[in-house]
Structure formats: structure tokens, C-alpha cells
Symmetry: C2
Amino acid sequence: MPSRSRKKSSPAELLSLNNHQSAYTKAGVNVALGNEFKSGIGKIVRQTHGPEVLGGIGGFGGLFQPDFKKRNIQHPVLVSSTDGVGTKLKIAFATNCHHTIGADLVNHCINDILVTGAEPLFFLDYIAAAKLTPDVVRSLLSGLSRACKVSHCALIGGETAQMPGLYEPGEYDLAGTIVGVVDRKKLLDGSRVSVGDFLIGIPSNGLHTNGYTLARHILFKKMKLEFSSKPQGLTTSLQRELLKIHRSYLPEFQAMTALGANKIHAAAHITGGGLIDNLPRVLPKTCDALIDTNSWRLPGIFKLLARGGALDPLEMYRVFNMGIGMVFIVPQKESLIIAKKLKGKIIGRIIQGHGEVQLEAPKQLME
Amino acid sequence: MPSRSRKKSSPAELLSLNNHQSAYTKAGVNVALGNEFKSGIGKIVRQTHGPEVLGGIGGFGGLFQPDFKKRNIQHPVLVSSTDGVGTKLKIAFATNCHHTIGADLVNHCINDILVTGAEPLFFLDYIAAAKLTPDVVRSLLSGLSRACKVSHCALIGGETAQMPGLYEPGEYDLAGTIVGVVDRKKLLDGSRVSVGDFLIGIPSNGLHTNGYTLARHILFKKMKLEFSSKPQGLTTSLQRELLKIHRSYLPEFQAMTALGANKIHAAAHITGGGLIDNLPRVLPKTCDALIDTNSWRLPGIFKLLARGGALDPLEMYRVFNMGIGMVFIVPQKESLIIAKKLKGKIIGRIIQGHGEVQLEAPKQLME
């Protein structure tokens, strides 16, 4: 934003605010660089904006006027979630690859609100670093933008914070907040789940964004692998495997809507805590989820981690998604059709219980 | 969330998931500790929840059903903002004082949406650390909660992320996202501002949350002051001065609403970038804001920073709020009444220009 003082407005003085010699820059923060980003951000994020986004970039708040009528929503419930990408960031730092981690974050957040029945409205990001590097921020924002655009979610605001001394040079943190909307009568809260329902697991494409601290510990400290390694059981290098983008399940939810709104009794996004901690979020207190861990093929990365880490199988199911990124709980009689439609597997069923998860045959992963 | 495996469900094995010897803990992340926080959080945040908040804690998304009718809003525009508290965090770390920084964040975010005419609906936080310390997280959440409650803003969700290796032990980052609502016809976007309008400045109570990197550099590196120091011109110790909570201007906006909705032509929250960068956000391209920097008394902390840092006055107005935390742009004929009502000062006026800020007499601060 151009700015000047009435009594001190020579070009040289203005320049002095924008170069690297200002006192604020010396202390570690470059205000002018921050503003340059802000103007560059406009082009990248504007491609995610539809007619519901009001105003331009640079205001104090992002403005979004939801068209509830067009969205066919009578009693809007706003559904929101804040998340980060955990130490998957460390993989991005180590490989200097920053253009996919934004999509990891957006897709993670989208999945978190989809399970309530909501559709995404808008997203805000938070990027914090000791010093903002234009190329890195541009990569991050491009990744965020692309993922938002695909899911018709407006990237409506964000903060790029320069905090010298809080982050290591070359590192950053990335977090985001999504807001979506669901009609009150379509809200999925687990209350429809009952004994006899079936669980359909939809594959993950890898670790998604959870368990990276443990995975890095096993793969790089214990097993002493390299990013370029292609260990037995993986179809790609470790770098590509570990940077695979967290899958968005929006297409599966859209397919379910096409099948008929009341087909889903509940859905759970399998993130940190795995099947064991995430399914109970949508289980009634009188039901358990009984899961046959032999009903799907464990992807190579999890076998590798089990082998290399000599981990307790039970703990693995609590840290990693183990190849299942989303679980739909559906009526038994519809389960085969739905599983086929969504390219998922029937992985278990709802039995009487106490709102917990029971795993059958968790030992297979050690084979 | 209790969880168990059907074939591995002895209390000893369950315990092994909850103690500090699990592989995930050894790698630096304590899942059980994370869950313990999550259950403790409930009590603290629930006091911010009114009837518009649906569901409990622990779901995938925060649920908020805004009562637009009760709020007298016909065409809702959602206004959102994400922010952090910058390196004011470093003051909290150094003084081991974590119960006020949450309110800094909430109030900062509230002010950012108030200037669009919006009222707060809900807030989500993001806390990231190498290791979560229960006491610190509890302090942070209590601060967030208190500030949310005062402003009738529901603390509806959040993420507490454990990221070993990204943060120094004892340090953390704190960010947040606010969502508010304004009726389309009451949206403040600067379009009502015209030549002849007056600017009313409402005092800040200190640095708020901006300029801390430079301030710390000057006070502690250059001037070698201590937290317990009480330098000339300050009425309190440096620790207390630097931890003063970012003032919320919600009461001033409520007072303006009571005076009549169309009294405000625009408002600007004076944060990073100071008066020089923040006022242009609400100025038409044909108007400048002419500010008489002699029209208010510069608080002691800014004089101290000017003296100790030997800073270019112009740069100070671009880094610090300089004692003005909020600016209202109002019709000239109402300005005296409004200034009196809000305990503010008339600090300038709108003249023809190019959407920029002109400062009169910025040199006073060196005296």
C-alpha cells in the first residue's frame, strides 16, 4: 500500500521504508516484503473466488455472502475446523518441495467438515516463519489455491506472519481454518447409527497428514533410509510416498448425495488417533464398531513402518490411518451398492457396545 | 476417547497406550496427553457457548447455527479473519506468563471484523508446540475463553498440535480465526468516506500486538533494560507494559450503534503497518487522510522506543500504533459528539488525494 508523510515525502525517503536498511528490517522483520507478498497473493487466490465473495484483497476481514437459497439450505448450520499439517512439514523442508503441502491442509480440513454433512464455503490460511521467502510463500499459496478451487472453496483470507527467533531459518508452520455449511436437517451427528449398520472404508493414499513424527523416526533414524530410497513394498521413492497429497473425499460425498441424502448414517475422517480414536466421535454410547482388519490390503508404507519400527499393531492403528482415510457408516442393505459405487470395502459392522472400536486380527500387518 | 482392540484388550495393554513409553511418545508426540487436553478443554470453552452452538466438544467440526432473525440480519455476510500475536509471544515465554496472550489474539481478531460492521459469532484457535504442557495450554485457553465470553463470541473449535523439532522447548505459536456476521446493507467498506469527514482516534493501551520484534530489539538488546525495569515515562514495569492486553473496541462499536447505524463512514484497526498502512484499506482512491500527530499525547512506551531506538519518526508510524488503536471516519458535523461519547480525539480529516495517509508534524515524538 503506498504511503507517505506530508512533510517527508521525497522518493528517497519513501524508498528508505522499502529497502532492507530500515530498523525494523534490521530487527528481523521486513514490512515492505510483507506488503509485496500481499499484493502478489491477490492473483493467486482470486481464482478461487465465486460470486459469493465480496470485496477485494487487503481488507481487514474476508467477506462471504452465502447464497443459501441457491445452495438449497433452509436452516444453515456453519461448520468450522482449524488444523495444521503436523510434521509432514519437515518432509517439505528437507526436500525443498512446498507446492503440495497446501493441498494437504485444505483437503484435511475439507474432510473434517464433510463428515458432518457440510459443504465447504471458504478457507483462511496461517503461514508463520522467521522470514518470509517469496518463492516458498508463493508455492504454499498456489497449493492452497489449487485445492480450494477444485473443491469450490474460496480462499478468502490469511495471515503471513514473520516471527524471527520463533522458527528456524528455512522452516515455517502452516495452519488453516475452513468454514462450511449444512442444512440443520441434513446434519450428520452419529444419532442415526444403529446396531447392524455396516462400515465402508475408503482407501487413503498413504500417511495423509498424520503420524509423520513417528514415521520419520522409524524411516530415517532407525532404518537410516534416504528420501531417494525405494524400499521393498513401495512403488515409488520415499520422498514421493511421504509427500503424497492427503486425499479429499469430496467426490465420494457428492456421489453419496447423488445416491440419496439419507444413505449415510455417519462418517469419520481417519486422522491422528487412527480408526481407534476417530470412529468413536460418531458412535452412539450404546454401539461399538467391530472392524475386521483383514478386510482390506494394508498399503506398503504401513507394512514398512510396522517392520522397521517393530511396533505394537494396536499402536499403529492408533497413530496411522492404516490405509483407510474415510469411513462411512451405512444401512446394511445398501452397503454393497455403496461400497461398489465408492470403490470402498466393507470393513466392519456396528454391534452393541459402549462407543468404542474393536479390532479383529490386527496382527496381520506384521506378516 | 477410550479405545481397545478385541483381541488385545487387557488393562495392561490398554495402559501401554496411555503411558509415556509408547513408540509415538519416544518419537516425541504423546497422543494420550493430547486426548487428556481435549477432554479438559471442554469445561473451559463451554462457558463461551450460547444456544447457537450445537453439539459437544470432540466432533470433527464446530457447529454454529446463527439466529439471523434474532440478530436482525436479513442478508448475512460472513466476515472472517485469521491472525496471530507475533513475537509478543516471546514476552509470554520470557516471563512465563501465558494467561493474557489468548485475549490479545481474540481482541485483535474481533477488532479486525468490527471495522467491517460485523459482530462476532465464533472463534477457533491453533496452538502449536514441540510438546504440549498442560498448564500452559490451560492458561492459553482460559485467556481465549475469557475474551470470547466478554464479547459473546463462541470458542467453537481449535487444534493443539504437537510438533517436536519445529518449536523450541517451552515455546509455542498461537493463531486464531474469527467468523462474524454483518447485514449486507450495514457493511462498512469505505465507500461512504468523502472529503470533509473527520477522523476520530481511540487510544490504544500500548503496543497491542504489533512491533514486538523491533520493540524487543530496542528495549533489551540496545537499551539493555530488564523486565523489572521501570524506565522514565512508564507508569509500570516493562513486563506489565509489554503484556498489556490488546484492547477490544467492541464497546465503542456498540456505542456507535446506539448513536445510529449510519454515523460511521468507515473504521480502521491500527495494527502492523500503523496508521500509514491501515487507514488506506478503507480510503477511496480519491481521498487522503491528513493526520495531525500533535492532536493526541504519545504514550510513554512509544517515546521510550523512539528515544532508545533513535528511529525515523515516519518508520515508527508504520510499525507501531503510536497510541491510536482504532480510527473512526465520521461526518464532520457529528464528530465532536462522537469523540466525546467514545472518549476519543479528532486526529485528522479527509482531503482530496490518492488513497494515502499524510502525517503532519511526525517529529514531535523525538522531543
